[in-house]
C-alpha cells in the first residue's frame, strides 16, 4: 500500500510515496541513493546500518519506513556539514579508527548517539556503548581512542 511519508533527512525535508512497510535501510540505499548506510547482518546484530532517528541510534535494517514519518533522520551522509567533517569523523581519521571502512558509518553513528547521551564517557562507557557494533578488522582499540578524543564534542549549530 503506497502512502506519502514525510520526514526530515539529514536536515532537509523528504517525501516518499511508497509502501511504509518497507525497511528504512533499503529505502535509503535504493530510492534515496544513500549507500553509506550498510547491510551487515539484517538482524540488528552488527550495527553496520546504524542511523540516528530523533537523536537515538536505531538499526535501519529493522526499522520500517513508516516509523520515521514526521521524524528527524540522520545518516552518515549528513554528519559532515558545509564540507566540514564532524569532530568524530576527524577523530576516526586522526586515530586510525577504521580499516576496511565497512563498519565505519555505523560506528560513527553509534558513537554520535553515545556522545549525545553522555558528553564525556569514560573508556569503559565507550566500550559498553559500542558493544553492539561489530568490526572484523580489529580497529576497536583505535575506535575507542577516537571516540574518547572527540569528546567533548564541539558545539554545533
Amino acid at each position: 500500500m503506497k502512502t506519502a511519508i514525510q520526514f526530515r533527512l539529514n536536515g532537509r525535508p523528504a517525501t516518499l510515496t511508497t509502501d511504509g512497510g518497507r525497511t528504512l535501510l533499503w529505502v535509503l540505499r535504493t530510492d534515496l541513493g544513500l549507500t553509506g548506510t550498510k547491510y551487515g547482518c539484517g538482524t540488528g546484530q552488527c550495527g553496520a546500518c546504524t542511523v540516528i532517528v530523533d537523536g537515538k541510534a536505531v538499526r535501519a535494517c529493522l526499522t520500517p519506513l513508516k516509523d520515521v514519518a514526521d521524524r528527524e533522520v540522520l545518516t552518515i551522509e549528513g554528519l559532515a556539514r558545509d564540507g566540514r567533517l564532524h569532530p568524530l569523523q576527524q577523530a576516526f581519521i586522526d586515530h586510525g579508527g577504521l580499516q576496511c571502512g565497512y563498519c565505519t558509518s555505523g560506528m560513527l553513528m553509534g558513537a554520535y548517539a553515545l556522545l549525545l547521551q553522555n558528553r564525556e564517557p569514560s573508556r569503559a562507557a565507550i566500550m559498553a556503548g559500542m558493544e553492539r557494533h561489530l568490526c572484523r578488522c580489529g580497529a576497536h582499540q583505535r575506535i575507542v581512542g577516537a571516540i574518547a578524543a572527540a569528546r567533548p564534542m564541539e558545539e554545533r549549530s
Binding site: 549507500t35 553509506g36 550498510k38 551487515g40 567533517l85 577504521l98 571502512g101 580497529a139
Partner: protein, 718 residues
C-alpha cells in the same frame, strides 16, 4: 585454462592518453612463487603513469580491503619518484586498466610487489631526469628533484616540472636494470605514517563497495539456496513467486533466481518459492571431524628431518605425546560478498568484492563462454577479506543472471549466505611427540600436521633429532588429489594454517618448559640462535615487564612466538580466568615484531592490533557448528566474533631492522594468538587446553580434569 594477459602497450595508450609510462614486473623468483609453471616474458605486473598535469597514477592489481596498501603503495611510489604523496592517484584491481595479478593475499603486497613498484618509480625518476637534462641543457648530475620538480642544483630558478616533461609524451619505458632505490636514511615518505588515502571517503560514507554501485535499470537478485551442501532439489514450485508484480524469475541449469528492482521485493519473492530438498545423510559433525581427518589422511609430505628420532627419544628423560585440535573458523567480514554485473554487446563488466580480480575475471569468462578480454572486473573498496573473498561465486552468479536477464544485476549476499558459502579455515589436528633430556633441553621433536598445511609448522628453535610432516597438505590445495576431506568449502584464512601450527608448536614448547620447571621465556631462549627471534622476544619482554617464573605461576601470563611471511613476532599476554564459569578475560597483549624496513609504521601497527584482536576470536570463541553439509551458524548471534568488551590493552613494538627489505605485515601477528592465550591460561590455572577455541566449557572442564588428577600439568603428557 583460457586467460588473457592484460592489454598491449598500444591499446594501453589509447585507453590512457599520453604521458610517460613505466611498466614493471616482478622478478622471476617472485613470478614463480605467484604462479608456478607460468612464464611471463613480456608481462608487466603494474605500471605507473606520469601525466601532463604532473599527477602520477599507479595502476596495480592489488586491492584495498582495509590493510592500507592503497596508502603504502602510494608512499613507495612517491618516495622513489620524489613527489608529494598528494600527487599520487591509485587505480587498484581493475582488470582492464591494471596488469595481471594473482590476487591480494599472503602478506605479499609490500614484501614482493613493493620492491618492483619502488624500482619502477626509481626508474621513472631516472627517465624524467634524462628528459630534464636535455631540456635544461645541463648534465644529469647537475640536477636535483624535489616535489615533482627538477631543477639545477646550482641555479634553482632553472627548473621544470614532471608534468611539463610528460606533456604530449607517449613514452613507454620498461624497467630493465633496476635504478637505485633510496636507502632508509634518504627516506622522506617511507617510514612515515601519513593520513590514510582512503580515510576521508570512509568516514563520510562516500566510499563505494560493490553493493553500493548503482546502474540505471538494475535488478537485485536473490537465489534459491539449498539447506545443506550436497542437497539437491526434489520438487520445486515457483508459480507463487512468479505471480508477484515486477518479479523476473530465472531458472537455468540448476540456478533458480528471482530478480526485482527492489531488493526487498526480490527477497519476498524468494520466500514464495516452494522447494523440497534431498539432503544427504550427514557423516561428520564438529566432534567426529577430527577422527575423520586423521583416518582420511595418508602419505605425508616430509617438510624437514634432521638427526635421528630414535636416538633423541632414547636420550629423553620425559616424553610428551600430545594432540592439538581446532575446528572450522569463518571469515565473517562485515561486508558480505556482493557483485554488480552488466553484460552488453558481448562484453561483461562486473564490480565485485574480491581479493582476486584477475582469477575472478577468468572464471566469469569461463561461465559466460566469453574471451577473458571481453570481461572487465572492477574492484571497489572491499569490506574485509581475510582470505575469504577469493571464491567469487557471487561475481559469476551476477554475470550469469545479467546475461540471461539482459539487464544489470546485483547480488548482495545475506549474512546467512555469507556463512553458508564461506570457504572456512579448515578443522585440523596436530600430533606431536617430543622429549626433554635431564638438563631440560629438547632432545627430539616429531611433528605431524593434518589438514592445516605446513605454514608455521617448522619450529624456529634449534632442535636436534626433529621431523616435521604434513598430511594432506592444506587440504583445499587443488594439487592435492582425491576427494575433499571436508563437508563444505574450506580455503585460506588470515595466515592459512599458521594459526593452527603455531598454536601446537608453541603450546608444546610451553608444556616442556613447565615440565623442566623453567621460565617459558628462558626455555625458549635456551633453544634459539636466530638473532631476529631473540630480538623480538627480548623486545616483547622489555615492553611487557616479563618477570621470570616457571608456569603455572598463577599470574596468568604467557608467551608465544612465530615466523610468518618473513616477519618475526613475539607476543605476551596477561589474562584472568574465572574458575567458576571458565571465562577467559584478556587484560593485556604486548606484541613485538621485526618486519624489516617499515613502510608505514602506524599502518603496520594497525595491522598488528587488528590481527591480535581478530586472533582473540579463533582462540576463545569461534568454531563453526555444522552437521554434515548443513551450516548451523548463520549469523553473529550464535557465531561470536570479538567485541569491544573483550578488548585488552594492546601494545605493539616495531623492532628496527632497516637492513632488511620490508616483510609481511597483514598476517604475522595473528599467528601466536592461540598459543599465547593457551599458555597464559595454563599459567593462571595449571590446566592445559589442547583445543581451540578455548570456550568457557572447555576451560572449566580442563580445570576440573586437572583437579581430579590432583597434579598440575600432566594432562597432555605421555
Amino acid at each position: 585454462m583460457s586467460e588473457s594477459r592484460g592489454i598491449d602497450r598500444r591499446s594501453f595508450f589509447k585507453l590512457i592518453g599520453g604521458g610517460i609510462v613505466v611498466f614493471f614486473g616482478l622478478d622471476p623468483s617472485a613470478l614463480f612463487a605467484q604462479d608456478r609453471g607460468r612464464i611471463y616474458p613480456e608481462d608487466f605486473n603494474a605500471y605507473l603513469l606520469i601525466g601532463g598535469n604532473g599527477r602520477v597514477t599507479v595502476y596495480s592489481g592489488k586491492i584495498e580491503m582495509g590493510q592500507g596498501v592503497m596508502t603504502s603503495q602510494a608512499q613507495m611510489a612517491a618516495e622513489e619518484l620524489g613527489v608529494a604523496l598528494s600527487s599520487i592517484d591509485m587505480v587498484l584491481g581493475d582488470t582492464e586498466l591494471c596488469p595481471w595479478d594473482m590476487g591480494t593475499f599472503g602478506s605479499l603486497t609490500t614484501r614482493m610487489f613493493g620492491p618492483a613498484l619502488r624500482a619502477a618509480a626509481a626508474d621513472a625518476r631516472a627517465v624524467l631526469l634524462r628528459l630534464a637534462a636535455r631540456k635544461l641543457g645541463v648534465p644529469q648530475a647537475a640536477l636535483v628533484v624535489d616535489d615533482g620538480v627538477v631543477f639545477v642544483a646550482s641555479d634553482p630558478a632553472r627548473r621544470i616540472g614532471y608534468g611539463e616533461l610528460a606533456k604530449g609524451a607517449k613514452i613507454a619505458h620498461a624497467v630493465g636494470e633496476r635504478a637505485a632505490t633510496r636507502t632508509v636514511s634518504e627516506f622522506r615518505q617511507m617510514g612515515k605514517s601519513p593520513q590514510r588515502l582512503d580515510a576521508p571517503e570512509k568516514v563520510t560514507g562516500e566510499a563505494r563497495y560493490a553493493a553500493d554501485i548503482r546502474l540505471p535499470g538494475m535488478l537485485y537478485a536473490r537465489i534459491l539456496r539449498p539447506p545443506a551442501h550436497g542437497a539437491t532439489v526434489a520438487r520445486l514450485d515457483t508459480t507463487a513467486a512468479a505471480k508477484l508484480p515486477g518479479v523476473k524469475l530465472i531458472r537455468r541449469d540448476g540456478l533458480v533466481a528471482v530478480l526485482h528492482a527492489d531488493p526487498e521485493a526480490a527477497a519476498a519473492a524468494l520466500e514464495r518459492i516452494q522447494a523440497e530438498w534431498r539432503v544427504p545423510q550427514p557423516t561428520v559433525d564438529g566432534e567426529s571431524i577430527f577422527g575423520h581427518l586423521l583416518s582420511a589422511s595418508a602419505d605425508p609430505k616430509e617438510i624437514s628431518h634432521n638427526g635421528a628420532l630414535a636416538a633423541g627419544r632414547a636420550n629423553a628423560a620425559q616424553v610428551f605425546e600430545t594432540s592439538y585440535r581446532k575446528g572450522y573458523v569463518a571469515h565473517a567480514p562485515i561486508e558480505p560478498h556482493a557483485a554488480l554485473a552488466r553484460v552488453v554487446d558481448g562484453k561483461a563488466t562486473v564490480w565485485a568484492s574480491t581479493q582476486t580480480p584477475f582469477p575472478t575475471r577468468d572464471r566469469i569468462a569461463q561461465a559466460l563462454r566469453f574471451d577473458p578480454k571481453n570481461v572487465r572486473v572492477i574492484t571497489p573498496f572491499v569490506g574485509g577479506g581475510f582470505g575469504g573473498k577469493s571464491s567469487d561465486r557471487q561475481a559469476v552468479e551476477a554475470a550469469q543472471l545479467a546475461q540471461i536477464a539482459g539487464k544489470p544485476v546485483q547480488i548482495a549476499w545475506t549474512r546467512a549466505e555469507e556463512f553458508f558459502y564461506d570457504a572456512f579455515d579448515p578443522a585440523a589436528v596436530v600430533s606431536i611427540v617430543s622429549g626433554i633430556d635431564r638438563r631440560g633441553r629438547i632432545s627430539f621433536w616429531d611433528y605431524s600436521v593434518y589438514a592445516a598445511g605446513e605454514r608455521g609448522a617448522s619450529p624456529c628453535y634449534e632442535l636436534p633429532n626433529a621431523r616435521v610432516r604434513s598430511f594432506r597438505g592444506l587440504s583445499y590445495d587443488p594439487n592435492v588429489t582425491g576427494k575433499s576431506l571436508h563437508p563444505f568449502a574450506v580455503g585460506p584464512w588470515r595466515a592459512p594454517g599458521a594459526n593452527m601450527n603455531v598454536f601446537a608448536v608453541e603450546s608444546q614448547i610451553d608444556l616442556m618448559a613447565a615440565a623442566a620447571a623453567a621460565d617459558p621465556l628462558a626455555f625458549r631462549l635456551r633453544h634459539l640462535k636466530d638473532p631476529r627471534m631473540i630480538g623480538v622476544l627480548r623486545a616483547a619482554a622489555d615492553a611487557f615487564g616479563w618477570k621470570p617464573a616457571a608456569a603455572p605461576s598463577g599470574r596468568g601470563v604467557g608467551v608465544a612466538c612465530s615466523i610468518d611471511a618473513g616477519t618475526y613476532v613475539a607476543t605476551m599476554a596477561e589474562l584472568k580466568v574465572d574458575p567458576a564459569s571458565g571465562r577467559v578475560s584478556v587484560q593485556r597483549i604486548v606484541c613485538a615484531q621485526d618486519m624489516g624496513i617499515v613502510v608505514n609504521p602506524d599502518g603496520a601497527k594497525m595491522q598488528m592490533e587488528g590481527a591480535i584482536t581478530m586472533g582473540l576470536g579463533y582462540a576463545l570463541t569461534e568454531e563453526l557448528r555444522f552437521r554434515g553439509g548443513e551450516i548451523l551458524d548463520r549469523n553473529f548471534g550464535s557465531y561470536a566474533i570479538p567485541r569491544f568488551s573483550w578488548l585488552p590493552k594492546i601494545e605493539t613494538v616495531l623492532v628496527s631492522n632497516d637492513g632488511l627489505a620490508p616483510q609481511g605485515g597483514g598476517e604475522p601477528a595473528i599467528t601466536p594468538m592461540g598459543a599465547v592465550l593457551a599458555n597464559a591460561v595454563f599459567d593462571a590455572t595449571g590446566a592445559r587446553l589442547f583445543r581451540l577455541p578455548m570456550t568457557p566449557e572447555r576451560v572449566r572442564s580442563a580445570i576440573a580434569a586437572k583437579a581430579a588428577a590432583g597434579e598440575p600439568e600432566r594432562a597432555g603428557a605421555g
